[in-house]
């Protein structure tokens, strides 16, 4: 839920990084954290297991600066990717404004990508959201690995509605900001429709 505070002149939005386990969601957030100047970011919170797998979520608040006198706060969340954490995953979608789907480009992860996409659609529906209407971008991650499918093939399989698609190597920051910008843009454009 976008929270617009007309008094304090603030816009607050929630972006969720979704996708199969180990696809690179947390890595996206870490990169954004790393390149944001300290005054424009809050504390990054990771609720993870001892082995650093996301247990509940990672959270990173960032300030994007001013737009027409409004401060913009974006709250970035990741969900746990493993199938058995579905209950937690669903909770993180509460009040979501936009989704970045982080797909794993490796051939052997295709089933996991599809499963996660289908799970996203279902979980959004349970919150009353429609995957086909919500601000959404597709990130094809791990483009640096050898065993990956060609981008055009992946796109054909995973793209659902003409959303922007980005090839990425999250560990090197390639395609990370591009995806975040694209989803942010969609969220801000969607605000027009409430006007």
């Amino acid at each position: 839920m976008t929270f617009i505070n007309y008094v304090a002149h603030e816009i607050n939005c929630k972006i969720v990084y979704y996708g199969p386990g180990l696809g690179g969601k947390t890595t996206n957030l870490k990169y954004v954290y790393g390149i944001t100047s300290p005054e424009n970011r809050g504390k990054m919170i990771s609720l993870a297991t001892e082995t650093e797998r996301t247990l509940f979520f990672d959270f990173l608040p960032i300030d994007l600066g001013q737009i027409r006198g409004y401060s913009t706060r974006f709250h970035l969340y990741t969900v746990p990717g493993q199938v058995f954490y579905d209950a937690s995953r669903k909770l993180i979608l509460r009040g979501v404004d936009g989704v970045v789907f982080v797909a794993d480009s490796q051939e052997e992860r295709m089933d996991a990508n599809f499963e996660s996409l289908s799970n996203l659609e279902q979980n959004l529906k349970e919150h009353g959201f429609d995957l086909y209407k919500i601000p959404y971008v597709l990130q094809l991650n791990k483009r640096d690995l050898p065993n990956i499918l060609p981008a055009d093939k992946l796109q054909k399989m995973l793209r659902i509605k003409g959303e922007p698609v980005f090839e990425a190597v999250a560990t090197q920051g390639i395609g990370v900001l591009e995806a975040l910008k694209a989803v942010t843009r969609q969220v801000l454009v969607a605000l027009r429709k409430t006007a």
Partner: protein, 172 residues
């Protein structure tokens, strides 16, 4: 989903703030903070404690969400309060109108009965104001601003903030 954007009038915001201030004062709480389900802070009161409101709001929202889901699992529908009693400080998180939560941080000397009573009262008052604001159609009423309709150029300009620090400082 964007239609759920919360549009508060200045007067309503002041009313919310006043309710939080009264609750804070009555309980001598360190901090009283109203958040939405997405984990955004709507308003807060209490200067005694400097802590990260953003982190607090996000964790409290997630905590309440998880607790309510646990409740549903065991067949409980009304399970809308979380209370953590620490050695020095306690945290009380309660549901407001199923869409918001009130988070209190106070010292352990405050009586729990009193907390429950004041929180319940505050929740009822907050609910009235928030309910009214939610039911309002954004543009229909004078004195209520609609969601801002940004131009592409404005959005482009904002997006420039989102670039590696080096690019910004390095006068590309």
């Amino acid at each position: 989903m964007m239609l759920s954007a919360l549009l508060l009038r200045k007067s309503e915001y002041q009313q919310l703030q006043a309710i939080l201030a009264k609750t804070q004062k009555d309980l001598g709480a360190d901090l009283v903070i109203l958040i939405d389900r997405a984990g955004h802070e709507i308003a807060s009161e209490g200067q005694g404690l400097t802590l990260d409101h953003t982190a607090l709001a996000s964790l409290a929202a997630a905590n309440l969400a998880a607790t309510q889901e646990l409740a549903r699992l065991v067949g409980e529908t009304e399970f809308s309060i979380i209370y953590h009693q620490g050695r020095h400080r306690s945290i009380h998180i309660s549901d407001v109108a199923r869409k918001y939560s009130l988070v209190l941080i106070f010292e352990d000397s405050v009586s729990m009965g009193m907390v429950r009573w004041k929180v319940k009262r505050a929740a009822t008052l907050l609910e009235e104001i928030l309910q009214e604001s939610r039911e309002r159609k954004p543009t229909r009423e004078p004195g209520v601003s609609a969601a801002p309709s940004f131009t592409d150029a404005e959005i482009d300009r904002l997006m420039r903030h989102l670039s590696p620090i080096a690019d910004v400082e390095g006068k590309v």
